[in-house]
Each structure stands twice: as structure tokens, then as C-alpha cells.
């Protein structure tokens, strides 16, 4: 028992690691502030493209979505971070993370937005059209507001996953929360900093996880 407390809940080590971990947390929040809006906008564009008249555009978007859904996000990140320099393109870890997340998240958010758009009945289109609204106005004023409301739980749930994914940035040495905790662990040979980081992730995400269970159970009943 003492050994567990010593190895995982060492308050002295946590206190020493705190400034580093706090910096890491700031970086994690910064990554979130960049990749969540990027992913949402990218996803919306992907969803709109999947409704396009041109079959070529629809097919290529659908193929790209399948491709980026099939690649594990870490593989995509390593491809960009370690692969692109061979082509003479050297991205900073932050830019590599943003690009990898954009490709991955746009696919996942895109599928959610697409499901939302398709959940809005044809009657809505026809009614809006008959009042003289143009297609763009119908999309932005009639369809999208209903679509987003219909898939809001999925959007929240995917955003939780995105926040969790930011921990992958530690693999390309971006000093975010998990990376800082890992540095502190490797210096102290003690896992307490990682436990502290885990606690911060829980504090950030647990309320949303609870909210999601509530929503799921309400839908179920």
C-alpha cells in the first residue's frame, strides 16, 4: 500500500512537477482551441461537399473520408511529422498536429454533419424553396440549424474524443499535458506526475462524459 502511494500518489513529486504540468495544460488547451474549430469548419465543408451536385466531388470526398477514418490518428500524425520532411516539407510539431487533426476530425465531424443534414426531411427543403429562398439560404437558415440540433450529442461526443486525442501530440514532442507529465516521470522515475495529468484530464472531461451518459439514457428511454 505504501509502495503504491509512493509510486503513484507522491505529493512532493506532484508539487515539483506542477509548474511543468501547468505549462503542459496550457499547451493542451491551445491545441484544443486550434483543432476543434478547424475540425468543425472542415467537417461542415466536407458535409456540404457530400451533398454537391457533382458526382466526382461527392465520390472523392467519400473516398477521402473513408481513407482518413481508416488510418489511426497516430499513424496519420507520424506520416505527416516524420514523412513530409522527406519531401522537403518540415512542419513544426504544432503545425503537424493541426494538419493531422484537421484531416482526421474533418472526416469524423463531416460524417456527423452529413447524417444531420440527411435527417432533415425533404418537406423542409420544399417548403423553404416555395417561400422563394435560394439554396444557400435554405442550407444556412433552414436545414443546418435543424441538422446541428439533431446531431448535437454526437458532436459533443466527438469533441470529447478530440480532446483525448490531443494527448497523441506528446509522441511528436509537443510539450502538452501528457508530454510534460512524461518528462517529469522520466526525470523522477516516479509515476505520480502522470497520475496528476490523469486527474486533470478527468477534471476536464468527466462532466462531459457524464452529460453524454445522461443524454444516451434519455434517448434510450
Amino acid at each position: 500500500m505504501d509502495l503504491i502511494a509512493q509510486q503513484f500518489f507522491n505529493l512532493d513529486i506532484m508539487r515539483q512537477a506542477w509548474p511543468l504540468i501547468l505549462k503542459g495544460l496550457t499547451m493542451t488547451l491551445l491545441i484544443c482551441a486550434a483543432v476543434i474549430p478547424l475540425g468543425l469548419v472542415g467537417g461542415l465543408l466536407v458535409a456540404l461537399a457530400s451533398q454537391a451536385k457533382s458526382a466526382v466531388l461527392r465520390r472523392s470526398v467519400s473516398a477521402a473520408i473513408t481513407l482518413f477514418r481508416a488510418l489511426p490518428p497516430l499513424v496519420l500524425l507520424i506520416l505527416i511529422y516524420a514523412g513530409l520532411p522527406f519531401a522537403g516539407i518540415r512542419l513544426s510539431p504544432f503545425a503537424a498536429v493541426c494538419l493531422a487533426f484537421l484531416l482526421n476530425n474533418a472526416s469524423f465531424y463531416g460524417e456527423i454533419f452529413r447524417a444531420g443534414i440527411e435527417s432533415v426531411g425533404r418537406g423542409q427543403w420544399e417548403a423553404a424553396r416555395s417561400t422563394g429562398l435560394r439554396p444557400t439560404a435554405i442550407m444556412t437558415h433552414v436545414v443546418l440549424p435543424q441538422a446541428v440540433r439533431n446531431v448535437l450529442p454526437d458532436l459533443v461526443s466527438n469533441t470529447i474524443e478530440v480532446v483525448k486525442l490531443t494527448s497523441l501530440a506528446s509522441v511528436v514532442a509537443l510539450p502538452e499535458l501528457l508530454h510534460s507529465a512524461e518528462m517529469a516521470r522520466s526525470v523522477t522515475y516516479n509515476s505520480s506526475p502522470v497520475v496528476l495529468a490523469a486527474g486533470i484530464y478527468l477534471l476536464l472531461l468527466w462532466p462531459f462524459v457524464r452529460l453524454m451518459s445522461r443524454l444516451e439514457h434519455r434517448v434510450a428511454q
Binding site: P73, F86, W206, S213
Partner: protein, 226 residues
């Protein structure tokens, strides 16, 4: 960059050939972990959901804490905690075992939550009717409730299973010799990006069929809107 140079950097034929055996080995390990994780994760997840249906308050509180924690933590965090933390307690597990254990627990947490929501979706009258015919708790659950709950749970279970089997790539961080690990090792030996591309293709070979199957299942079991 002209095409010849591009091909020489990312798709050099001799390096494709020489990295194939390694990547093939990585594919086997990726598949082994994925299958092991699905088997144990589903068994544990269903077990916990059934246990939760018993309605014992203290047990359910523990299940909820377990499920919530594993749903909220990035999977890489428990992977690193277990891999680097347990040796400090005198327990040392292979990196393969750590990855299998952690991903199984994460999948179990999601499976429990999804199956539990499915069980809740079946009206209480079904329980009462089944029990009144003399069926016990377990037969009621397995013969009456779960068959009705399953339809609702199949699409989210499929999606979650795909997401977590893709997480086998996290193994590379603790040195499990799966695809990504083999590929990055080969890149550093050859100084050429070809093995990484072969590795990416290997992931696509495994996961594109899985993603397409998942999409098909989702449409097949979707609730139709009026």
C-alpha cells in the same frame, strides 16, 4: 519535386520489398492484439452490464466510476501509467500484455455503457412479464431483454470497436512491434520514407474493409425516421 524523386523517396521498389516481411509481422501483431482486445473487452463489458442490471447499489457505483474514468481518460495515459508504473511495484508485464490489458479495459467501459443504455431502452413491462412466467433473472436478461436491446446497440458498438482497435497503434509508444513500430524502425534504418508508406497501406488494408463494414452495419440497423 519531380515524380521520379518523389517515387524514390516514398515508394522505392527495393525498400518496399525489403520492408514487406517486417510490416507483415507488424500486421500479424496488430491483428492479434485487436482480436484479443475485442474478445476480452466485449466479455468484460457485457459482464459488467449484466452485473449492473442486478441493481446492487455499491457494485453499480464502482462500475460507474470504472466506466467514467476510462471513458474520460485518453487511452495513452493508462497505457503509460501501467507500463511505467507497475514495475515500480515489482510487477512487470510485457508491452504486448500492457497494451492488451489497457485497451480491453477501455473497450469494456464503452461496451458496458452502450449495452446498459440498450438494456434501459427495453420497457419495464418486458421484465415484469418475463419474470411472471417464472423465468429467472439471467434467462430473462439473455432471452427477453438483450435480444430486444441489441438492435439499438449494434451501430455504436461497431463504431467504438473500430476506434479502439485503431488504438493498437499506441503500442508503438511502449515498443510493441505492431505495424507503426516496424515502419518507424525501418525508416530510421533506411533513411527513406518508403517503409512508412508501406505501413500506412497496411493499416488501410486492415481498416478500410472494417470502416466500410461499419458504415454498412450503421445503415442496416439505423432507426428509420418518418
Amino acid at each position: 519535386m519531380d515524380l521520379a524523386h518523389f517515387l524514390d523517396t516514398f515508394f522505392r521498389p527495393d525498400l518496399i520489398r525489403s520492408s514487406l516481411p517486417l510490416i507483415g509481422k507488424g500486421m500479424l501483431i496488430t491483428l492479434e492484439i485487436a482480436i484479443a482486445v475485442v474478445v476480452t473487452g466485449f466479455a468484460l463489458g457485457f459482464g459488467l452490464a449484466i452485473l449492473r442490471a442486478r441493481g446492487i447499489k455499491a457494485v453499480n457505483a464502482l462500475i460507474i466510476v470504472f466506466v467514467d474514468v476510462l471513458r474520460a481518460l485518453p487511452p495513452l495515459v493508462p497505457v503509460l501509467l501501467v507500463y511505467f508504473g507497475l514495475p515500480g511495484l515489482g510487477i512487470s508485464l510485457s508491452s504486448f500484455a500492457v497494451l492488451w490489458l489497457v485497451l480491453s479495459l477501455v473497450l469494456a467501459a464503452f461496451v458496458e455503457e452502450i449495452v446498459w443504455a440498450g438494456i434501459l431502452s427495453v420497457r419495464k413491462g418486458q421484465w415484469d412479464a418475463a419474470r411472471s412466467t417464472g423465468l429467472g433473472f439471467l434467462p430473462t436478461l439473455t432471452h427477453v431483454i438483450l435480444p430486444q436491446a441489441v438492435r439499438l446497440t449494434i451501430p455504436p458498438l461497431t463504431n467504438r470497436t473500430i476506434a479502439i482497435t485503431k488504438n493498437t497503434a499506441l503500442g508503438t509508444v511502449i515498443g510493441v512491434g505492431e505495424i507503426l513500430n516496424q515502419a518507424t524502425t525501418a525508416v530510421s534504418f533506411s533513411g527513406n520514407a518508403t517503409p512508412l508508406m508501406v505501413g500506412a497501406v497496411a493499416y488501410l488494408v486492415i481498416f478500410i474493409p472494417v470502416v466500410m463494414l461499419g458504415g454498412w452495419i450503421e445503415r442496416r440497423f439505423a432507426w428509420k425516421r418518418a
